[in-house]
């Protein structure tokens, strides 16, 4: 079945209608409001096969049909937002020396060594999943809409790796919370909402890059159209000039005036071509999922000789790893370095041995 029709049947059922296969088509009963919206009868047989539609007199609905587009538009406008809580791990927290070893592996520290500094505490770390459609426009005639998605760790505001996303998507979900009891996941919502700007910025950056890739051909066409117009006007102006120099004075004056108007026309035409190829993009979000990931907050010390710099890292069983964190000073993500005066990343630590 055409994917567009499959979506529409689901949409109808979601809206209180009924759909049932019958022969080569599907019998659909539409509630009146939906029938009115689509300007269709309340009972009809639909198909995505033109052959069946022609012979059996059924309604042909395939991707691209206005009815399908309008249903898709309404669905996207309503959006898909909510919290998905991952199940609490059934195994106890890893042993302290295991947590310490994993921390040392994952966060190598220049001139320092990580030690466990206390007991892990249960936490829920929010991850933000944002889905959006990006519309790219390259010229009056050329536009695309692409589906993009971004996962951000709401606490660190760092994007998740593909591997982490894949693990989160496979992780089992928690049972639905008891509505009579306070929902623990609500506490993470403020952090999640605060991360939306970062997610949007990441989407925008990706869209910007994609726009450049997609505009490559439009840009070629732009240059070609411009060059063609230029060549045309240059040829015309050369011809006018040639005729002007050989013409009697009254005719020469006329040709000179024509050259002036041709130059103006050239300027106008080139500006029109540039205007036609203005590239831009627009992001339309339709999904906002907050994924509540259970884990343990582990107190750690980074030790350099007698100095100790306390830090915390969240061990997330669903990822099989600690959540990535930014540098406590500059918010960069470079590896840490323990100097004699502070713990920072390799980028923001004062360069040793170099005097300004």
């Amino acid at each position: 079945m055409d994917p567009g029709l499959r979506f529409w049947l689901r949409y109808v059922e979601h809206g209180g209608g009924l759909a049932e296969p019958t022969g080569d088509g599907t019998l659909v009963m539409l509630p009146e409001p939906l029938a009115d919206d689509f300007d269709l009868p309340t009972e009809l047989v639909v198909t995505s096969d033109p052959d069946v539609a022609r012979e059996d007199g059924t309604v042909l609905l395939t991707t691209g049909h206005p009815v399908l587009i309008s249903a898709a538009d309404a669905t996207l406008a309503d959006g898909d937002a909510g919290v998905l809580a991952l199940a609490e791990p059934i195994t106890p927290a890893p042993l302290a020396d295991q947590l310490q070893e994993r921390a040392r592996d994952q966060f190598p520290v220049d001139h320092g060594l990580i030690d466990i500094a206390g007991l892990p505490q249960r936490i829920t770390r929010p991850m933000l999943r944002v889905g959006a459609l990006v519309s790219y426009t390259f010229s009056a005639e050329e536009s695309y809409q692409e589906n993009v998605e971004c996962w951000v760790d709401a606490q660190s505001k760092l994007p998740l790796s593909d591997q982490a996303v894949s693990r989160l998507q496979r992780a089992p979900l928690a049972a639905r919370p008891d509505p009579k009891r306070p929902d623990p996941t609500r506490a993470i919502l403020p952090a999640a909402v605060a991360a939306i700007n970062e997610a949007h910025r990441l989407l925008d950056t990706v869209a910007d890059r994609r726009r450049h890739v997609l505009s490559e051909h439009a840009s070629d066409a732009h240059h070609q159209e411009r060059a063609r117009a230029r060549a045309y006007y240059d040829d015309t102006l050369r011809s006018l000039e040639r005729r002007r120099t050989a013409a009697p004075p009254d005719r020469a004056e006329l040709l000179a005036a024509r050259a002036i108007s041709t130059r103006k026309e050239r300027t106008r035409r080139l500006a029109e071509i540039d205007e036609k190829y203005q590239a831009r993009h627009d992001i339309r979000p339709f999904r906002l999922h907050v994924v509540a990931v259970p884990g343990w907050r582990v107190p750690l010390d980074v030790r350099r000789g007698p100095r100790r710099y306390p830090i915390e890292r969240d061990w997330l069983p669903a990822l099989g790893a600690y959540a990535e964190e930014r540098c406590p000073h500059c918010a960069e993500t470079a590896p840490l370095s323990a100097s004699k005066t502070r713990l920072g990343c390799l980028r923001c630590q004062p360069m040793q041995g170099v005097r300004g």
């Binding site: 994917p3 499959r6 979506f7 689901r10 979601h14 080569d24 096969d49 033109p50 052959d51 539609a53 022609r54 012979e55 059996d56 042909l60 609905l61 395939t62 991707t63 691209g64 049909h65 206005p66 399908l68 587009i69 898709a72 538009d73 669905t75 996207l76 959006g79 898909d80 909510g82 919290v83 998905l84 889905g131 790219y136 005639e141 536009s143 695309y144 692409e146 589906n147 639905r176 929902d183 996941t185 609500r186 506490a187 919502l189 403020p190 999640a192 909402v193 939306i196 700007n197 994609r210 997609l214 051909h217 066409a221 040829d235 339309r284 979000p285 339709f286 999904r287 906002l288 999922h289």
Partner: protein, 568 residues
């Protein structure tokens, strides 16, 4: 900050445009509804139209295109921005490439209004291809009108109808999103009716399909390119200065490399030698069957009367006589009803009295042989009465066979093909078995009669001799000795080597004889104007010579096109 405070302060007002409704939804009912997520995923797939590096229509295709066809589609959409000349050698699927482009444009909502202009004989074939392979709804324009609905069917029109009013005005009245013209070399002359029509059509996307974008004159190429990309080759004066005058032969043009470079910006040409599309061989056999005395007598009497009457007959009577001649070549059973209608009941009676023509005997022998070898056999006839007679004879011989004809409903046709694909070894069929059905599991075809139109012979062959066929295709033409069909077959075999031509080449050859060349009509005219069979044979010989010349021309042109638009 707690959720309550967040909600009260409408903190999310700080989020970028478009997120606030989602945040409100999140705070109102935090649980994700999995059904809604699936619905939204599907909606985004319906709504999105990604860059042309993603092929949206692929999942909807009723077949698997070749890689070079997909690549052509992407080249046309991305680099050529939907305006191109598709100039593949014949038989490589220009129709498929155009269908892919059109399908992709429609999936993206870029070509709701699409017009396909084809030679009259190919309108139905285009309909089949677009509907069955691409799932695109079509409507055929007739008398200046076509059905138009919400689903905006692709409008199909023959070039002959579209270049004349009322259809001409109707198609020019529209602003089309996409226009496809098959056999577009017919548009080269800007002063012809077809050329004027093409130049007056308004379309954002334009595909011209022709295996011969240039004949011998350079002006041919200039005209076609100018239709697709006005100005790409400069003004006609610039073009002449750079490459040669309009009448310059392809072999004598200047700056070939520069011209190739330009034409490649809007032209795609694949050659058979470049793409790995291997078709099995066609092994054709003409089986001359000696008719029994009664058959022979009826046929001779009938054709004598036809020759006498047709010379001075009114056009409608002449057409009826032509049709009768063809029916008589098929079987006496096929001719009998028309003999009655035409006012020759005596002959009708004699035809009906022939219970089993000799061709039927030959067919049964051959069917037994093939079926014993475990081979499926597709038997073609052009006429329903012959089909009915065959169904009865084959059943009487105790051989399971399915019948397929145009009066069956779609479900009955499906059932017939399914039976043939299953246990039933024989499919008895009229021309309507075309319809793009997959019959490649069979490789034996028997023609009970020979269409006078060679294109129909090729279309029959095309049902089995197509990509996916694993065996050499065995074709037997059963022809009664002394019939017009015997003469036709002789000409087609000896002059143009019909059965060894590559798919599509026949059309190229016939299209070169004269502008509106009609083989069937030419044969009939030759028959009725000849005083006797010797004169008819001589006329057919002349016709054959014309076909042979057309074939030579075609091969010459193919070389010229390669020289101009091929690889350096």
């Amino acid at each position: 900050m707690s959720v309550g405070v967040l909600a009260a302060n409408r903190e999310w007002a700080q989020v970028p445009d478009g997120y606030a409704p989602l945040v409100e939804q999140l705070l109102r009912a935090p649980g994700v509804d999995p059904d809604r997520s699936v619905l939204v995923d599907e909606a985004s797939a319906v709504w999105s139209r990604p860059g042309f590096d993603t092929i949206l229509s692929q999942s909807r295709l009723g077949f698997t295109p070749f890689d070079y066809q997909l690549a052509t589609m992407q080249t046309v959409l991305r680099r050529m921005r939907g305006r191109a000349i598709l100039a593949d050698e014949v038989g490589l699927g220009k129709t498929i490439e155009a269908g892919l482009v059109l399908s992709e444009l429609r999936m993206r909502g870029l070509a709701d209004r699409a017009l396909v202009i084809t030679p009259a004989g190919l309108v139905d074939q285009w309909r089949e291809e677009l509907e069955r392979k691409f799932g695109l709804p079509t409507t055929i324009a007739a008398r200046g009108r076509w059905e138009d609905g919400d689903d905006r069917p692709v409008v199909l029109a023959s070039l002959a109808a579209a270049r004349r009013d009322p259809l001409r005005s109707a198609v020019l009245d529209q602003r089309w999103d996409a226009v496809i013209v098959d056999e577009a070399h017919r548009l080269r002359n800007p002063t012809s009716a077809s050329g004027k029509l093409a130049r007056a059509l308004r379309a954002r996307y334009l595909l011209l399909l022709t295996a011969t974008p240039v004949e011998n004159r350079l002006a041919d190429l200039y005209e076609l390119v100018n239709l697709v990309a006005p100005g790409l080759l400069g003004t006609i004066a610039q073009f002449r200065r750079t490459h040669g005058t309009a009448d310059t032969e392809v072999g004598a043009l200047r700056n070939v490399a520069a011209l190739r470079e330009r034409t490649r910006q809007i032209m795609v040409r694949h050659r058979r030698s470049e793409v790995a599309v291997l078709l099995p061989q066609r092994l054709a056999e003409t089986v001359l069957v000696s008719p029994c005395a009664d058959e022979q007598a009826v046929y001779t009497e009938l054709t004598t009367r036809i020759r006498e009457q047709a010379r001075d007959a009114a056009p409608s009577r002449r057409l009826a006589l032509r049709s009768l001649t063809r029916l008589a070549g098929s079987s006496p059973a096929a001719a009998a009803p028309t003999l009655n209608k035409i006012g020759w009941p005596d002959l009708a009676e004699r035809a009906r009295a022939i219970r089993r023509p000799r061709k039927f005997d030959e067919l049964l022998v051959r069917l037994h042989t093939h079926v014993e070898r475990g081979e499926k056999v597709l038997v073609f006839t052009a006429f329903r009465h012959t089909l009915d007679a065959l169904v009865a004879e084959v059943a009487a011989a105790g051989m399971p066979a399915a019948a397929y004809h145009g009066s069956l409903s779609r479900r009955e046709k499906d059932a017939a093909v399914a039976a043939f694909a299953g246990d039933v070894p024989v499919l008895l069929s009229t021309e309507s078995a075309g319809e793009g059905r997959n019959l490649q599991f069979c490789h034996v075809m028997i023609n009970m009669d020979l269409p006078w139109n060679p294109m129909q012979i090729e279309q029959r062959l095309g049902r089995l001799h197509r990509v996916g066929q694993q065996h050499d295709v065995l074709l037997a033409n059963l022809v009664s000795r002394g019939t017009i069909e015997q003469h036709i077959l002789h000409v087609l075999e000896t002059k143009i080597n019909l059965f060894e031509l590559v798919v599509g080449e026949l059309d190229m050859i016939l299209g070169r004889v004269t502008d509106d060349f009609d083989f069937e009509s030419s044969v009939f005219t030759a028959y009725v104007t000849a005083d006797d069979d010797a004169a008819f044979t001589a006329s057919l010989h002349d016709l054959g010579a014309e076909l042979a010349r057309a074939r030579t021309d075609y091969l010459h042109t193919r070389g010229a096109v390669d020289q101009l638009v091929g690889e350096d």
